[in-house]
């Protein structure tokens, strides 16, 4: 450790330089060496689309952190008010954050007053550093600071290992300086954003954002579409909040635009019908076929998966199966992406939680 990185600077940021990388080995040093890639992004073709008036979305790739995607894995958004702009999630690297900033600047010159993180995961907030010079308020659930402090060194060293020295350069973990407890309104001039925190569900610091003007709902990773939902908080908490969250996706019986943390948003009408068809033909969810709109189908699919995990694990616990037995006898679900990576992990997380039920 050198002295310049021993403390937090006034912006509460932590730089990757000089960090002791506890997880990194000789093998990793080799990875870093091979992964030196040009960090060019001006001509990146980073796309954003307007899902509702003044509400823009970038759709991240469904996949794993890799040099080819530069950490562009989560859905990101920005909302333009009369006075200023709010950004919702910044991507998995400084590179993605800069590309998003470029996209914002191609639409408006207004200042960026808020950069909001929907939760702690690195694919959603490692792009924050690109916004430091805009001097926004960094908004997040009050519980996020602790979660990030615990994980930041791991996030940064692993990002460096996967993306390589060049792409990771300049990536920082920016701690929130505008913590949210409960619900708060953020004024963008002419439109308000309602930011709302939730009990432990996907993580212990989930936060959703809803625009007053178009009712567009950014769910963060409380809603996954296509990408298998990942439990890093509480399966019971998650199942408990889904009805309330699903209700926010409707305004006077009409569905509002919904942006999930991963997968297509409901504004992409070209894909909607296709998606709806896939979900409604899903054999295990008869109630899904009766839903009228795409976001209800998305919520139903996620609820269906999480419920099936809970049911399977409770059954195994009742039969006095061990964790190892339960994980190895579980079959991978159909109709989702990345099941190989996450399903058994979800079973593990659910088991460790539900074994405490009486």
């Amino acid at each position: 450790m050198n002295s310049k990185t021993l403390g937090l600077d006034p912006a509460n940021k932590l730089t990757i330089d000089g960090l002791s990388a506890t997880c990194l080995s000789l093998a990793c040093l080799l990875v870093c060496f091979f992964f030196v890639l040009p960090a060019a992004h001006a001509e990146s073709g980073f796309e954003v689309h307007e899902i509702a008036a003044g509400v823009w979305v970038h759709t991240g790739e469904i996949g794993d952190f890799a040099p080819e995607n530069k950490g562009d894995l989560a859905n990101l958004g920005f909302v333009i008010g009369a006075r200023c702009v709010a950004v919702i999630d910044t991507g998995g690297s400084r590179w993605v954050g800069e590309a998003l900033l470029g996209a914002i600047r191609s639409k408006t010159k207004l200042p960026i007053c808020y950069v909001i993180a929907t939760h702690m995961h690195p694919d959603h907030l490692l792009g924050h550093a690109a916004f430091l010079d805009e001097h926004p308020q960094f908004v997040a659930a009050a519980s996020q600071a602790r979660a990030l402090i615990i994980r930041r060194e791991g996030y940064l060293s692993r990002q460096k290992a996967i993306l390589g020295e060049n792409l990771a350069q300049g990536t920082e973990v920016v701690l929130p300086n505008h913590p949210i407890i409960g619900t708060e309104q953020l004024d963008l001039g002419g439109r308000m954003l309602t930011v709302k925190t939730w009990r432990t569900a996907h993580t212990d610091n989930d936060l959703t954002v809803q625009d007053s003007q178009t009712h567009t709902l950014f769910t963060g990773d409380l809603l996954f579409v296509d990408h298998l939902p990942v439990i890093d908080g509480s399966i019971k908490g998650w199942l408990a909040i889904l009805p309330e969250l699903g209700a926010l996706a409707h305004e006077e019986e009409k569905s509002v635009p919904v942006v999930p943390g991963h997968g297509p948003d409901t504004g992409r009408s070209d894909k909607e019908l296709q998606r709806l068809e896939v979900i409604t033909t899903k054999p295990t969810g008869p109630e899904i076929g009766q839903t009228k709109d795409i976001s209800s189908a998305y919520f139903a699919a996620e609820t269906d998966y999480l419920s099936s995990v809970a049911k399977e694990v409770r059954g195994a616990l009742k039969a006095q199966q061990t964790l190892q037995q339960t994980v190895s006898s579980s079959t991978l679900p159909a109709h989702w992406k990345l099941v190989e990576w996450y399903h058994r992990r979800n079973i593990t997380a659910a088991f460790a939680e539900l074994e405490w039920e009486d």
Binding site: V31, A66, A74, M120, R158, V327
Partner: protein, 283 residues
């Protein structure tokens, strides 16, 4: 999503440095092991144990590096003449490699143990058993996992604090005098390693973990364990004991803040029992 992140470093590492990993896949990090070996066993001989004498089960690729199930099986029943006295569980590449030392007695019946550990990076995991004649026997397994120590304080800290010290003890199957019975012990505890890995803010939360567990049945020692931050949040153990008749299975756990947690379950022979006990007041 963090898990993906955790796993990916492993994949990238594997893809790009296949040679190094191929070389190290079975040897692990010999230097690390020689240091651990020297500190625990000096230059005493250690026999590579055969599978029917000592076996270590662990997933080759961990699903969740923070909750990696481990089980150690011994092929010999515990008897006054020959028994496993101590078993060490060692995770070479963890920041604190000696995850646990289990101490057994002839009353343990069977010196088997199951628990869950955190794994910080690709590593050899070892079990070293010491018999009552002083001989040392070792088995090891290479486990692919990473990042298990990067979220040291668990997923739901508020909930963890609220239920701190709650314990559940369950005895599986019927209790038959003279036959080893399988018990499961669960302790609600964050087993928080603090921020030893985050040099920036080492004082943000201090380490807080279970350090010692002792189990008796009808007043006789069954098993004690010295454990550490490499054990997963909510430490979980499955072990055997031999009931000679009805009695009380009593557990005491002590954490790094010297809080004591107790639970006890009264067993009658022949009956299937389960118990869930609220924590006793800390000392």
């Amino acid at each position: 999503m963090s898990q993906q992140f955790n796993r990916l470093v492993v994949r990238a590492t594997l893809a790009l440095s296949g040679l190094i990993l191929a070389a190290s896949a079975h040897a692990g990090d010999p230097e690390m092991w020689s240091r651990i070996r020297a500190s625990l066993f000096q230059d005493r001989p250690i026999v590579e144990a055969s599978g029917d004498f000592l076996r270590l089960d662990a997933p080759t690729r961990a699903e969740d590096a923070a909750v990696v199930p481990i089980s150690i099986h011994t092929g010999i029943p515990q008897s006054a003449g020959q028994y496993v006295q101590n078993t060490w569980l060692i995770i070479d590449q963890n920041p604190s490699p000696i995850a646990a030392k289990f101490v057994f007695t002839p009353s343990s019946g069977q010196a088997d143990i199951e628990t869950r550990v955190r794994v910080n990076e690709y590593t050899l995991i070892r079990a070293v058993a010491e018999l009552n004649d002083g001989s040392l026997h070792m088995v090891s397994k290479f486990v692919k996992a990473s990042g298990g120590c990067s979220a040291p304080a668990g997923k739901d800290p508020a909930e963890a604090l609220a239920s701190l010290g709650k314990m559940k003890v369950r005895v599986e199957g019927d209790v038959i005098p003279g036959k080893p019975s399988l018990a499961q012990l669960m302790i609600s505890h964050p087993n928080d390693s603090g921020l030893a890995f985050d040099q920036m803010s080492r004082n943000y939360t201090p380490a807080h973990y279970v350090r010692e567990i002792s189990v008796t049945y009808a007043g006789k020692k069954v098993m004690t364990a010295e454990v550490d931050i490499s054990i997963s949040e909510n430490p979980n153990f499955r072990f055997y004991f031999v009931p000679e008749g009805a009695g009380v299975l009593a557990v005491e756990a002590i954490d790094s803040s010297d809080l004591k947690f107790n639970t006890a379950v009264k067993l009658d022979t022949g009956k299937n029992v389960a118990a869930s006990v609220k924590p006793a007041a800390g000392s």
